[in-house]
């Protein structure tokens, strides 16, 4: 059962491969090589969608990516459902399920179509003028109604499971578009041996040559010429050919984004193939050969199904063997529609008449049409059309005077001439100019290394197009530019002029009562555009935004020039004075997931893990994200919640010994003769006198005086420091240091090396820490006397080299064992085993936070928020006041940084020891003050301390140190909580344990 409108022969479809698909639940047959649009046309289906605003029935207007009307949803299930696809670009596959959009309950009977009748109340921008009363009604009532009416397709309801990949590529010449111009350019460029990439958004290379019937190039018919060109290109190793690949964006410095559709045209792609692939091509030269598109004519009721671009109809007949109708009226201002009429007539379509806007059309093709018996009506325009779901007739009338005649038809072909496709050129920031002779915008001044060729720069004769492409290919390749440049192609093809029409076509109807569409998809009519100018929207950018013309998914490819002409008319300004709106990427809508590529799930962002991560996972750790690191937060046992686990872990550290993975700490090796001098300048502390073998806590400021980072620093040798930073701060700190070193003090002989990943860091903390470690260590005397608090020794542990720090962030006797990372796990295992007799307990970051808070140690990023000086957070002692200079010193001297009412770090105790304040809660003097209340500060850290036996908290409070002893209040939704301001040390205030 062959489709009714399928021509018996011809076209590039594969008649041996029938393909079944459904549209709106009905099953149809097409052939491999068909698009959804061509297959529907072959089946006589023209009603394909409903328009955006008025829900008017719409058909298939074009045969390419510029299609504004025939938008469909496609997908066999929700995970594969894609809305708003152009039927003209969808290749059918067996079993494909497609549906129409924006209609309810059905495409043929759509309730939303009442809007069409209400059209007069819905002019451009009507929503700005109404729905303002009563207050709040917009969001509650009107907006939901408007929102439901808008939108086209619907979002898929399930997560897409397909894969997407990306590729960076480089070439000397990228050619976009594989019509005659692009093919000629690619052939010429690749002949020189340089790397060439050729892409075209269509399934096959050839562009407009794929639907030429009688054209002969260099003695071969067009299709054969294309086949040979493609074969030649294929045979060259330096050429990469990408079909179904849209150049969607032209980015700075000749980076062009290509979207390759890899599997959508396959019925059963393997799971290893991506659905789409993003190419980011850096090209030395770009050749844009994007062609041109035919411009619609703006006349009353120009939007009915069955109204089609003339060239598109020709494509359906010649390339797809699909007959777009039985009886056609042709409405044109250019020669090319005559060629379409002739080809369609040859395909069996009756041409009822050609209405030509031009008073006196002449030329070979016009004469041929006349000779062929086609009725040509010069100086005639279409006054309107009839037909509900498909055009039934067109009324034709002379442009000046005369009667109108109603001509029955099921097809109306129109042509307003051609518009060069400038999108990519314009995206490259090239300047366009209005060509008066061509009556078109064409590329004028290039900014990037790029050249446009063929129809996209207004060259339309095929011989010139080929020569232009060839010359550009040679020039872009940059080799032998002079000799090869002028290749001539012998072409036997119809000569066509380049006349056309822009803006409203003349008609005798009441312009205020007819809908003559400019932007089909957004339902913008000529009236709307004129109304906008009447209302003072004079800039073309304003007109665009007020009427939404050009803002639909086709980005005005068929409408912009017509809208521009109407504005130019209304304002009495020339077209170039009115100007164009800005072209932006993407050239055609481009899949979100394509941009994401492989960045999905576990590959969305790297997950950094430590050498001890697996141990923690095996031991049931609950992890937290710190930057992109995973850190063990706590180790629950037997159904403990976080608080129980943390309480147990804290007790273990205070009473016996705990073990903690500190490997994420940033580490920087500072080496060189001037290392100490450099440290002096970068940190607030003084370093000169720090002996090798000793540690010091360092504070780093930004140049504006605010605390940036902190960490313990070990002097390994006179010229070598082992610097640690916060986990999140590591890259920032190293960059900050490099910046000063390279740009301010390049004379210093010192070098910085990141060693964060070199060392696994195992903190062993608690009164039994020494006992646990001693048996494992060789060459280091761990005794209190030999290795006091804040010292560092090198030696071996478990047979591997270690830098052993005696340091404590818990207030207990403690060590931090640094070992080369690959040994981290083994050493951890050994320490854990050795600690068993002492009940060694693994603890995580949450416990670490509680332990340090009990001691009043700050965490940069928790107590600080980028606005604190060292003194604010009780670190005034770490500032080397006698030093001549360090980064941030001058800023600290500013009067505002010394004010007594700055926020200062204090301890906070609730009167009920069981009440744990919420971190981030605010602190006020008077909880009964009216809103807005003046906050004195906020709670930065707050925990239930099992060791102290009550809740403890740290806060930043205005003039806090002067308020010690006062009672302040923390207002909470359930009532204010009174807090006593205390010193921020809650445990072992004398600090004796650390020396244990």
């Amino acid at each position: 059962m062959s489709a009714e409108f399928r021509l018996p022969v011809g076209g590039r479809i594969d008649r041996a491969k029938p393909v079944r698909f459904t549209f709106d639940g009905k099953s149809y047959e097409g052939f491999a090589g068909d698009t959804l649009a061509s297959a529907l046309i072959a089946n006589g289906v023209h009603l394909v969608g409903r328009s955006f605003k008025y829900h008017r029935p719409r058909g298939i207007l074009t045969a390419g990516s510029e299609e504004p009307n025939a938008l469909v949803g496609v997908g066999r299930d929700e995970a594969h459902y894609t809305p708003n696809l152009r039927a003209t670009q969808v290749e059918i596959t067996d079993g494909m399920v497609a549906e129409s959009q924006n209609r309810w309950p059905s495409l043929a009977f759509d309730v939303g179509a009442v809007n069409d009748g209400l059209g007069r109340f819905l002019p451009a921008g009507f929503y700005y003028k109404t729905f303002m009363w009563p207050a709040g009604a917009w969001a509650k009532f009107y907006e939901p109604v408007i929102r439901r009416a808008a939108g086209l397709g619907r979002a898929p309801q399930a997560a897409d499971t397909d894969r997407y990949t990306q590729r960076y590529a480089h070439c000397e010449v990228l050619v976009v578009g594989a019509g005659p111009a692009g093919l000629a350019a690619a052939l010429a460029a690749s002949e020189t041996g340089v790397r060439v990439i050729l892409c075209d958004e269509q399934a096959e290379f050839g562009g407009s040559l794929l639907h030429e019937r009688d054209t002969v190039i260099d003695g071969r018919d067009a299709e054969a010429w294309v086949a040979e060109a493609v074969a030649t290109l294929c045979s060259r190793e330096n050429v990469r050919l990408l079909t179904r690949t849209t150049a969607f964006g032209y980015y700075p410095h000749n980076l062009v984004g290509l979207a390759e559709r890899v599997t959508d045209h396959l019925a059963a792609p393997g799971s290893d193939l991506p659905r789409e692939r993003l190419w980011q091509v850096r090209a030395r030269e770009v050749v844009i050969a994007a062609g041109s598109i035919e411009r619609p004519l703006v006349f009353p009721e120009n939007d009915r199904p069955g109204v089609m671009m003339a060239e598109a109809a020709r494509i359906y007949a010649n390339r797809f063997g699909a007959k777009p109708g039985n009886r056609a009226v042709v409405f044109t201002a250019s020669d090319s529609a005559y060629r379409a009429a002739l080809d369609l007539k040859a395909a069996g379509v009756e041409i009822a008449a050609i209405a030509d806007l031009r008073p006196d059309p002449t030329g070979a093709v016009v004469e041929r049409a006349r000779a062929d018996g086609i009725r040509v009506l010069p100086g005639t325009s279409v006054q309107g059309t009839s037909g509900r779901l498909r055009i039934r007739s067109a009324s034709l009338g002379a442009v000046v005077g005369g009667a109108t005649e109603t001509v029955p038809c099921d097809l109306l072909l129109m042509s307003g001439g051609f518009t060069p496709t400038l999108s990519l050129f314009s995206q490259s920031r090239g300047k366009m100019a209005w060509d008066e002779a061509l009556e078109a915008y064409v590329p004028s001044v290039s900014v990037e290394r790029e050249r446009s060729v063929g129809a996209c720069r207004g060259i339309y004769g095929l011989a010139e197009v080929l020569a232009d492409g060839h010359a550009a290919g040679v020039a872009a390749a940059g080799k032998g530019a002079s000799d090869g440049a002028a290749r001539r192609f012998t072409v036997d093809a119809e000569e066509l002029g380049h006349s056309g029409h822009r803006g409203i076509t003349p008609h005798r109807r009441d312009a205020s009562r007819v809908k003559a569409f400019v932007d089909f998809q957004n339902d913008v009519t000529a009236k709307d555009v004129k109304l906008a100018t009447q209302e003072g929207f004079r800039s073309i950018e304003h007109v665009k935004r007020y009427t939404t013309t050009g803002m639909a998914t086709d980005q005005g490819r068929t409408s912009n020039i017509n809208a521009l002409a109407i504005v130019s008319d209304a304002l009495g300004k020339s077209v170039p004075e009115v100007g164009l709106t800005t072209f932006r990427p993407p050239y055609t809508p481009t899949t979100f997931a394509l941009f994401a590529g492989q960045a999905r799930g576990e590959l969305f962002d790297p997950v950094r893990t430590t050498p001890i991560h697996d141990w923690a996972a095996e031991h049931g750790a609950v992890f937290e994200d710190v930057g992109i690191w995973k850190r063990a937060r706590y180790f629950p046992e037997g159904g403990e919640d976080m608080h129980e686990a943390v309480a147990r872990e804290c007790r273990a550290v205070r009473e016996s010994v705990g073990i903690f993975d500190g490997s994420t700490l940033g580490k920087i090796e500072v080496v060189g003769r001037d290392a100490a001098e450099f440290m002096n300048r970068m940190y607030t502390n003084a370093w000169a006198k720090l002996e090798p073998g000793r540690l010091r806590y360092g504070v780093m400021l930004r140049e504006d005086g605010f605390v940036m980072d902190d960490g313990v620093v070990g002097r390994m040798a006179p010229d070598r420091f082992h610097v640690t930073t916060t986990t999140g701060g590591a890259p920032r700190v190293l960059n900050h240091m490099e910046d000063y070193l390279q740009t301010e003090w390049p004379d210093l002989e010192v070098w910085l090396t990141s060693t964060t990943e070199q060392w696994a860091v195992i903190a062993v903390q608690g009164p039994k820490a020494r006992q646990v470690l001693e048996p494992l260590v060789e060459g280091i005397d761990l005794s209190r006397e030999a290795m006091p608090h804040m010292s560092v020794r090198t030696g071996h542990i478990c047979g591997v080299p270690t830098r052993l720090f005696r340091v404590s962030f818990t207030g207990e006797l403690g060590f931090e064992v640094n070992v080369p990372a690959n040994y981290g796990r083994a050493v951890w295992d050994a320490i854990f085993a050795a600690g068993q007799p002492h009940g060694i307990t693994p603890y995580g970051t949450e416990t670490m936070h509680v332990l340090r808070a009990e001691k009043g140690y700050i965490i940069v990023g928790q107590e600080t928020d980028g606005t604190n000086t060292p003194d604010d957070v009780g670190l005034g002692w770490a500032v080397g006041k006698a030093k001549r200079d360090f980064v941030g010193k001058r800023s600290l001297a500013r009067p505002q940084m010394q004010r007594p009412d700055r926020k200062q770090m204090v301890g906070l105790l609730t009167s009920d020891p069981a009440t744990v304040l919420e971190e981030g809660a605010q602190i006020v003097a008077d909880p009964n003050a009216p809103l807005p209340m003046k906050a004195l500060g906020h709670v930065t850290s707050s925990y239930a301390s099992s060791v102290v036996g009550r809740s403890i908290a740290i806060g930043m409070v205005a003039g806090g140190r002067g308020r010690i002893g006062e009672t302040l209040h923390v207002p909470m939704p359930g009532g204010a909580i009174a807090v006593d301001v205390v010193e921020p040390v809650f445990f072992d205030k004398e600090g004796e344990r650390i020396h244990g």
Partner: protein, 193 residues
């Protein structure tokens, strides 16, 4: 005095040991771990120091940007105008001591970073294509010849990339990023058989 207990010598574990042993075979692009070795980061601007380091190391330190030289199982990678990565096998401490000895009194920095990163090869006719799934460099032989090395990026990670023969690259990834880098390339090479 405390008794030192006997324990089995600590066994090194690399971040990719597991994954690498489970990698699927795909001849178009093979991925395999490079055995752990010594990496020393050497920094100097002083000509004498550079010369002395080369002498001590036994391999010339390239002065051309982004090139490496190799010999006797060792390699020296130019990573910056005053930065080289020295690769060798054996015990890092011994090499460290040798070089420090040779460099006494000369301004320089030498840091053992053997465990900081992990290296693996990406090899086969499609190796460059697979790397280009995440690496934005031109990996053609003209732009990235055999003998070239550089720090660069692979998707959301930094790597050091080096081409040892036409169809073989060595990727050196930060330890904690290695799993990501490996997995990213695994995913990228899925379409190649």
């Amino acid at each position: 005095m405390v008794e030192t207990v006997a324990f089995p010598p600590a066994r090194p574990i690399g971040p990719l040991d597991q994954r690498a042993s489970h990698a699927r075979a795909r001849p178009a692009v093979r991925m395999a771990l490079v055995p752990p070795g010594v990496r020393l980061s050497f920094r100097a601007r002083d000509e004498a120091a550079i010369a002395r380091a080369a002498e001590g190391f036994g391999v010339a330190l390239p002065r051309e940007a982004c090139r490496f030289s190799s010999g006797g199982g060792r390699a020296a990678l130019w990573l910056g105008p005053d930065e080289w990565m020295l690769l060798a096998s054996g015990d890092p401490d011994t090499l460290f001591a040798t070089l420090e000895g040779a460099l006494t009194d000369l301004p320089h920095s030498l840091v053992d970073v053997s465990h900081r990163s992990v290296a693996f090869t990406v090899e086969g006719p499609e190796a460059a294509a697979v790397l280009n799934a995440g690496c934005p460099l031109d990996l053609s032989l003209q732009a990235f010849p055999v003998g070239m090395c550089t720090r660069t990026v692979l998707a959301k990670s930094e790597i050091v990339l080096r081409r040892t023969v036409e169809t073989r690259f060595v990727v050196d990834a930060w330890r904690s990023f290695a799993a990501y880098v490996w997995q990213f390339l695994e995913e990228a090479r899925r379409e190649f058989l």
